[in-house]
Symmetry: C2
Subunit: 254 residues, 2 copies
């Protein structure tokens, strides 16, 4: 008997930012697979089983979850943010395609969530208010030269950029290299937002100019938004500045 697999986006980490649809899917599942801090955020019942794993084990985790669903389980794969943005949905699809034919019969549902860049943008103002792109800076899954080419293409074409997976202990160097590259293609005044743990108690949102942006301002839990030459900063006395990218193209060079 084939069971079900639901891949759930739990949002940025604040339970108030998880959709009722995601909460209902979690309540209905019996076995939970995910990176352990994401599972820790859930209030699971005693009859719900945890199968926590480390990050960088996405494909193995996806296979285990699919196998259990194929055997009749009611399985939930838990992602932070949105499962479709640098998270578990693609890993599940990849494992499913490479796996046994019967995995295609599994009742598979993917439930969207608020991804980090949206939560960070909301705290800062509206930096994603114009055309934008999302780039993972991790070299675990693609070579650095491809990341460089995409950053340059995005800067030249006038896209705001959101960087996911900007830095980690194993990859301390990409973020600084990305800022150096950007300084060749964008004015030094371009705003850069470092959004850490948006919506959680340890939230920290900081905006600096590209000239001052440094990799030490980020950690694994940071999503970074780089504006364009058209992105504006509104100072507001005692309040945090508002950063936004105007909806209209004003004809400046990127």
């Amino acid at each position: 008997m084939t069971g079900s697999l639901v891949v759930v986006g739990t949002g940025p980490g604040n339970p108030e930012q998880m959709t009722p649809e995601a909460a209902a899917a979690i309540a209905a599942a019996e076995d939970f697979f995910g990176y352990f801090p994401y599972l820790d955020r859930l209030s699971l019942r005693h009859d719900q089983r945890r199968h926590a794993s480390d990050n960088r084990e996405e494909l193995a985790r996806a296979r285990e979850a699919l196998a259990m669903a194929a055997a009749g389980g009611k399985v939930c794969v838990v992602s932070g943010g949105d499962p479709g943005v640098f998270a578990m949905a693609a890993a599940v699809c990849e494992a499913l395609e490479a796996g046994p034919e019967e995995w295609r019969d599994i009742d598979l549902t993917i439930i969207p969530g608020v991804t980090a860049m949206l939560a960070v943008a909301a705290k800062a103002g509206a930096p994603l208010g114009h055309d934008f792109c999302a780039i993972s800076l991790s070299t675990n899954l693609k070579p650095w030269h491809v990341i460089e080419e995409r950053i340059v293409a995005a800067a030249k074409a006038g896209f705001v950029m959101a960087f996911y997976n900007p830095i980690s202990k194993a990859r301390p160097n990409q973020l600084g290299a990305a800022f150096d590259l950007l300084r060749h293609h964008l004015p030094p005044s371009v705003p850069v937002i470092f959004g850490r743990a948006a919506g959680r108690p340890d939230e920290a949102i900081r905006t600096v100019s590209l000239a001052d942006a440094a990799p030490e301002m980020a950690d694994m839990a940071t999503c970074i938004i780089v504006g364009t030459s058209e992105t504006r900063v509104i100072e507001r006395g005692g309040k945090q500045p508002l950063v936004y990218s105007p909806r209209s193209y004003r004809g400046g060079s990127a």
Copy 2:
């Protein structure tokens, strides 16, 4: 006395996809500004006042909302999806910057939501599983040549693309032109997803190849996701195919 302004993302339209944070902000506000179909989706109380307006009136709506908040109101500006993605947050920031100094004292909060591309991607599989960009095809706020340049840059650099505002009665031609342009830069087999009203009762998700993609497949309420040459389609017998973009770069040309 300065009041408050909250800009709320109500998600794709299904109440189950609106966050508790957004629902609480709506419950706490007294005056509601927004495009009328978005206001129609809310279950407002009798003591909550509606100020509905047409689309394409974003800046005027933002000014009215800010003026009421500056006069002490508890004001809510309602967006579909996420307010920061081609929606009201940038219009509010723009109006605030151009407005009277005292508007900067307004207690302004922006509440993120699930934006259309995430809801459509979840229904299709994981097409946004690799680096991606979001482009508004509307020429109301930027010239067509800029849109063309961005589409070509994104295709050449290997970004998956999500098109917002793809077509309307007043702008019937951009989407067909975008597909024609893409056919010069991407293989004809690249999957194109037309996601209409994802999560709502009238939802329609359809995947075709770029060769077959046609503007008649979309309307104003459609978000379109264009894959890359690496995006995969998994056939599943009676079920809808799964479309996903692998997390790893496999070295193909874009």
